[in-house]
Symmetry: D3
Subunit: 167 residues, 6 copies
């Protein structure tokens, strides 16, 4: 996603993320973690009686998965500090496979060291329908980094960092 300093990022830059199938295990684990057991997510009988006819994936689960489906280069991303106009647009069902698409919609210098990047995010399902949309606000570092200078340089597929080791 953000793999360059702020000043090399332009409005219109775009990335797609990896796909992931949302399983029953994910939905149940999200009930576990959040303690939110609304029956539309957790009761097959109640869900069958709704217009959906089945359990829904939680909107905040789909939202929470987005950052893990893209590569973050935290040498550049200083902070993920907010979300604007997040909308849960279509139902997501157990077994759907979703992936995010991101596009830079605004870049605003903040100070000598950092700038704000606004990313329009869409989550699409296996039928290419947009199920969720919103705008992520990131604080991004200005100025490029020496290669191999931090642990952050490892564990990526960035060819510029191949050969970097810890010692």
């Amino acid at each position: 996603m953000i793999t360059r300093p702020f000043d090399e990022i332009s409005v219109g830059d775009a990335w797609s993320g990896r796909g992931r199938t949302i399983t029953e295990t994910d939905v149940v684990s999200f009930c576990y973690l959040t303690g939110n057991w609304l029956e539309i997510h957790s009761n097959v009988e109640v869900a069958a009686a709704t217009s959906y006819g089945q359990r829904l994936v939680q909107g905040s689960l789909t939202f929470s998965l987005i950052p893990g489906l893209v590569a973050w280069d935290h040498r550049y991303v200083v902070a993920f500090y907010g979300v604007d106009r997040l909308r849960f647009l279509r139902p997501v069902f157990i077994g759907d496979t979703v992936h995010p698409e991101l596009r830079v919609v605004e870049t605003t210098p903040k100070d000598d060291d950092r700038g704000v990047v606004a990313l329009a995010v869409e989550v699409r399902n296996q039928r290419d329908e947009v199920v969720q949309a919103g705008v992520f606000k990131l604080l991004v570092r200005r100025g490029s980094l020496p290669l191999c200078d931090t642990a952050a340089a490892v564990g990526t597929t960035d060819p510029r960092t191949e050969g970097c080791t810890d010692g």
Copy 2:
């Protein structure tokens, strides 16, 4: 939270939610579920070298916990369909105890059956600092419901539904 039909809800109505301590287990489980292993959340050595000096709780974890910390009466709440201007304002650390506070900031009739309720949400920690804020958008049913008419009437502490049983 929303325990009345749309027309009985007014701007200024407010609720507080239950508190919950965010444990290391929660932070690690959220890394598990999301696949987002940014080292500020998952690497004690890296986190110790930052200005925070320790691992941070994920902003989207704190956000995801909110609905489970308040009581939802899904006889009235038709859908939680979006979030506006969500901001991660202060760091949350492992061991902090957070609770949400909610206040109605706008009510907009949508059609004969439903209206939109906008709730300003603040998450506060054990020092009463606001760590996260945003606006939740809910679709809420109009018109009151006969008591004891659905399974939804049970499992609450609403005294009006005491005595309701399934048979």
Copy 3:
């Protein structure tokens, strides 16, 4: 469930709890947590060869779910201190949806501050069959509480506490 002080509770008072579908994730997670991997719960081949023809949900899992399916008002419930004559009456299978029903069967004053409430608990499945039954013993506070006096007043749907906030 218990949403009143001891002296306002009478034999015959009854409540029903929310329903929850017991998923494969729940059964496997309970094997995880307990370390009890009896093959009737964890081996599809062995289970298929029994008279049940499929894996069984653990009796102690169904039992453990009961308190989470009813609302507890811990301003009144001092302690859940025991269970009498718990019986696992019918098999529960993956995909079954269960809910508890509770009825006060005995109230015994203990001292000036507390009394014992015995609740007959039945867990019923989606075919309204009783799959588990027992008696829960609770210690309950006497005397009513001022509203809004504790954090416990929040996060419920009790209309008497609406408007209560932490500050």
Copy 4:
């Protein structure tokens, strides 16, 4: 535990189980699984203000761990069908190490094939205090089994079954 047919079991037979430290992960995972978030288990601030001064382990968690801490030979144990007079006697705290002790208190033939064995169970902590007690009711097979006749013969440390393989 039960590693012999019904007719070779006598009142007074006794076993101890393996010890296990109950971790914060266990307590949080049990909140996850059960959806029961009583603040005495999940809110450090609320728990600190009680006479315990800290979070309590859930009584039903400790109960649920018992069967996983003893060896069950399911060639003999037909069913674990009930529990009598289960009492949560002392608080269990995060970090405590518990193990069960079991003693046969009653044997009742039921029919030609099976008998009922009642086991008095005590769970003890690292200070040898009894924290939980109750009586487990098991249905146990009569008549001994040929060795090596089922998959059940494997995966145990019973020396009589060493050498048993599946083919």
Copy 5:
């Protein structure tokens, strides 16, 4: 598995382990724990387009399950210190039931107290196909132990230790 001291173990001794069905919950939980989300394990659409036509169980998950499917007597097993020539031979799919088979292939005295036991391990599925094979290297104690001398004597089905209690 190893339930005797080193000098009573001979090349050719063999054991089988308990079977376990590998569920979707197991595969997803292993993605959770490891942070390895290769799409062949986590994306139904991508997996459907491969020659397998479905998601694969992770080889290191199947490997990790082996020790939990056999009984270890840790009064004798000093350490599990290595694995030789581990091979993932056939795909394992969600719903397959696997069990391990182990055979002593080498015994090497190391010093007066301990010897090395090499165990050839095969994991077989419900069609008796070998899906994984390797050699486990264990360090095993020499000399027999007095019965009932340690907590390790309890919690097993070894009839020689029946009657052992902690006090």
Copy 6:
């Protein structure tokens, strides 16, 4: 890790992976998942009495984490099919932070489409001690790929694929 076709990989190529702190939650979750509850991993009292003085992280947990700590480009990695001479060299304790280092030690063409790459893997802790070592065997594709041709091109930090989208 492997981010190039087989013929561009040479003996001596090296990568380091991301670091991760192994938490109590990880150790307990691995007991959960594997059902292996050896007391050196799960009983604080027993572990305190050993020469280590505390619980050990499971060797197979540390092994299982390796693939998730490096970036895999599955457009090139056809299969991870085996491990040679895996050795658990030093104890890993709860709270240790580990990362893997990988070095190509052998490349063997297999057919026109694929070759075998042998990677020497070392896992190091926060004191730069090698705690685990072994050799991973991978089957790697020959011939380069057109950019942007598959979903695999997205979700990486490889600058050559920036701008690739699904449509």
